[in-house]
């Protein structure tokens, strides 16, 4: 073994540098929990993952003539039963006939239905897609994030992201809430029951007939207060909020028209969250009086006399507002912390057993620890490098990841066998030149196989098929680390082992 030559070999140094970086990356520095800085995915940590698809159809339309956006919205909306929004990049109401705009139908409308609604309104359709516009998608994502933070707390570690499928063009909002919580399944509920908030007023007390006054859209989201404890009575709470201008006008009119200002007890406003009554209570006499006289300036309102849990619900209900479009929960996964924990231990054990199986087979084949040990050590180095990479780039380790890791070990060992066999072919290796030639031959095969593997995995990584794209990414990165870093170093170590014994 020529250690001096080995110490000068850049391949060895590259491997060492990569390993040091990987170990530093893995070290639980900076407040990371657990033994390493690795973050675990839902399957191994427990938690809830929900994939949501917004319901809507968007038509690229043109030929608006002199109509401005509001007019277009109204004209198209006459032909369908769902809300219509128009958005365009340039100035509103531009008159050029070449201008295009996106006409978005916020609800369940077929593509044909959407196109004909646009055409019936006298505009030209240039194409139709299933789904909503990007800005609506981002808005939905923000609303959902806000709602979940309200209910679960900002420290819940939840993530809400928009993911697009490149093949089908579908857009999803993906919500991930790690860990287990007391009301685990409710994550789906919070999202699904999209927080439709509205205020109604009782118009006929004898049969409880009600009329809608305002919806969540009219509430200034930032104005809603947390439950405020009353100073006089600590068991009572108040929630304050503000209506926007239109909402204030509508509220005042409805109170007068319903008779609430004359007889508050008989015509109380009623608040609904997801069509469930969350509050019913008469107008305060002084508020009723000022609305009746027209001196109420609008805006701020208070809901008083609540117990703590009622106040919580009303605060959340008011803050959440209504989502821009209906949403459909296309998939949901809830993993208990216990199962996550079990799977974490088991998958570690499975990975360990698989490595052991590989090592045993190698030893059985070569009957030589001098080959078996470097092979297994190289395999382990590959795993460490890959884990370090994952820690640095914040990959979530989940089951698909573990499977990918085992697959990487498998392909890695395959390549080491090619190297070992190729350089030993035809017996002894007398000179470094012969060795280099044979190593080069081995690497041609390895390079071809690696390219093919990466090619096979690219579509998966690119399409982002949910959890399994992790498998593809791990495999690709693992193959690259192997081909570029660990396998060249293995070749160098093997050279010392073989040429040394050549005499």
């Amino acid at each position: 073994m020529n250690y001096r030559r080995l110490a000068k070999d850049w391949r060895i140094w590259l491997l060492l540098v990569v390993l040091v970086f990987a170990l530093v990356g893995l070290a639980p520095l900076g407040g990371a929990e657990g033994l390493t800085a690795l973050s675990f995915g839902l399957e191994l940590e427990g938690g809830t993952l929900v994939q949501i698809s917004p319901v809507g159809t968007t038509v690229d339309a043109t030929g608006f003539g002199a109509d401005n956006i509001t007019a277009v919205e109204q004209n198209v909306a006459e032909n369908v039963e769902v809300p219509v929004r128009v958005s365009r990049g340039g100035g509103i109401g531009a008159q050029q006939a070449t201008d295009t705009a996106q006409v978005e139908f916020r609800g369940n409308v077929s593509e044909d239905g959407a196109v004909s609604a646009v055409e019936e309104a006298g505009y030209t359709s240039e194409g139709v897609t299933d789904g909503v516009t990007t800005s609506t998608l981002n808005d939905l994502s923000d609303s959902i994030q806000l709602r979940l933070e309200d209910r679960l707390g900002a420290g819940a570690g939840l993530s809400v992201s928009v993911q697009s499928n490149l093949l089908t063009g579908e857009d999803f909002i993906v919500v991930e809430v790690p860990g287990e919580r007391s009301q685990d399944g409710r994550v789906v509920e919070i999202i699904r029951t999209q927080g439709e908030f509205d205020i109604r007023v009782v118009t006929n007390a004898s049969n409880d007939t009600q009329e809608q006054v305002v919806t969540g859209d009219s509430i200034n989201r930032g104005s809603v207060s947390q439950p405020l404890q009353d100073q006089g009575n600590e068991e009572l709470y108040t929630v304050q909020f503000e209506l926007d201008e239109d909402g204030s006008v509508a509220f005042g009119e409805a109170m007068r028209d319903s008779g609430a200002t004359q007889n508050p007890e008989a015509h109380p406003p009623v608040m609904y969250f997801n069509n469930e009554e969350v509050f019913r209570g008469p107008l305060n006499p002084s508020l009723a009086g000022s609305i009746e006289e027209g001196t109420w300036g609008g805006g701020g309102l208070s809901v008083t006399g609540l117990n703590n849990s009622e106040a919580q619900i009303i605060s959340v209900a008011l803050r959440s507002g209504a989502l821009a479009t209906p949403v459909e929960v296309v998939s949901s996964t809830t993993i208990s912390a216990r199962q996550g924990d079990r799977f974490k231990q088991y998958s570690l054990l499975i990975a360990f057993l698989s490595v052991f199986g590989v090592g045993a087979t190698i030893y059985f084949r070569y009957r030589d620890l001098r080959i078996a040990i470097p092979t297994v050590v190289t395999g382990v180095a590959e795993v460490v490098a890959l884990l370090g990479f994952s820690a640095v780039f914040n990959f979530n380790v989940d089951l698909a990841y573990v499977a990918g890791l085992i697959a990487v070990i498998g392909t890695g060992v395959d390549d080491l066998i090619i190297i070992a066999d190729e350089v030993q072919e035809s017996g002894g290796v007398e000179s470094a030149d012969v060795y280099r030639k044979r190593l080069k031959r081995a690497f041609i095969v390895i390079g071809m196989a690696a390219t093919t593997t990466i090619g096979a995995m690219l579509p998966l990584a690119y399409l982002g098929l949910g959890r399994i794209s992790g498998f593809a990414i791990v495999t690709i990165v693992g193959v690259l680390i192997g081909v570029l870093v660990t396998r060249p170093a293995y070749g160098s170590v093997l050279r010392e082992l073989i040429t040394d014994r050549g005499d």
Binding site: Q339, S347, G357, V358, G410, G427, M448
Partner: protein
């Protein structure tokens, strides 16, 4: 192992092993296995309307995996009587728990089911996929496989630039992918989302022994054809059996730990690699022999 003791492969020994086998025989075995696999898929298609059993991720539905060792009958009974939830479509016990499956549920049914789970089986995992999303996932998976296949074809042809040997490698990889799917169908294991990467990985895994064989025989001396085959085979068989060992260990241990994603990936790769041994060292050797020796008028 004595490094210097590896015998120099001679044509004489090898020729006895391989040259006596007619190409027909060498090709018949892999094709017969492929034929059986295709027949299984065809019969399944005629019986069920799909060539393979599809997991709930593709058909839509709800799966609950419990973590307590309650007998399956009891679990079935308990899950059958939930207010506002249809009967489960299937209950089966696994080591350390059970899997309860439902047809796709409405939002309210799902909510009732979650109530039940929270109250009685808080340790259980719940997975739900809507049928439309399942269909979309299925098409995407098929797209990913097709796309990967095209990329593989391009890479192989670009490397070898010879039609027949390249075609042989691609034929082998195709068969390596189809046979394990047939095995899955025979074993009654549904193709789930987690098995898609395994099917794709067969391409990467099986290709290296093919490449090794093809490159060795095409670039080596014609006279040493059988010796080159033998060399490639020695390395290739070691590689493939090592990987098969890893996959068998993974499949068996994952089965006992009820981690089905890992088990299914293990099964697919194990059979895919096994099929690759047969394809590479029978079919591809026959194809290469014809290409290297017969076609050029030797032997």
């Amino acid at each position: 192992m004595k490094l210097r003791d590896i015998e120099h492969p001679t044509e004489k020994i090898d020729e006895i092993e391989y040259s006596e086998q007619s190409s027909k025989k060498l090709i018949a075995v892999p094709f017969a296995i492929l034929g059986v696999a295709l027949a299984v898929l065809l019969v399944t298609y005629l019986l069920t309307g799909a060539p393979v059993g599809l997991g709930f991720e593709f058909t839509g539905g709800v799966n609950i995996q419990t973590q307590t060792a309650v007998p399956a009958e009891q679990i079935e009974q308990e899950f059958s009587g939930i207010d506002g939830v249809p009967e489960p479509s299937n209950v089966r016990s696994i080591s350390g728990g059970a899997i309860v499956s439902f047809q796709p549920l409405t939002n309210n049914e799902m909510s009732n089911l979650r109530d039940f789970r929270d109250a009685n089986y808080a340790d259980a995992s719940v997975e739900s996929v809507s049928p439309s999303h399942g269909t979309s996932l299925l098409y995407q998976s098929m797209g990913a496989i097709a796309f990967a296949f095209v990329l593989m074809t391009v890479v192989i042809f670009a490397f070898f630039r010879t039609f027949v040997p390249s075609l042989g490698i691609i034929l082998s990889a195709t068969s390596d992918m189809l046979v394990p799917i047939g095995v899955m169908t025979l074993l009654g294991i549904d193709v789930s989302l987690g098995t898609i990467p395994a099917i794709l990985l067969i391409i990467g895994y099986s290709i290296d022994s093919d490449i090794l064989l093809t490159r060795n025989t095409l670039s080596g001396r014609r006279k040493q054809f059988y010796g080159n085959v033998r060399n490639a085979m020695k390395t290739g068989v070691t590689m493939t059996t090592t990987s098969m060992a890893a996959m068998a260990v993974m499949a068996i241990s994952a089965h006992f730990f009820s981690i089905f994603i890992l088990r299914n990936i293990g099964i697919i790769l194990f059979f895919g690699l096994g099929m690759d041994l047969i394809n590479t060292y029978m079919m591809n050797v026959a194809i290469l022999r014809w290409y290297v020796l017969d076609r050029r008028g030797m032997r």
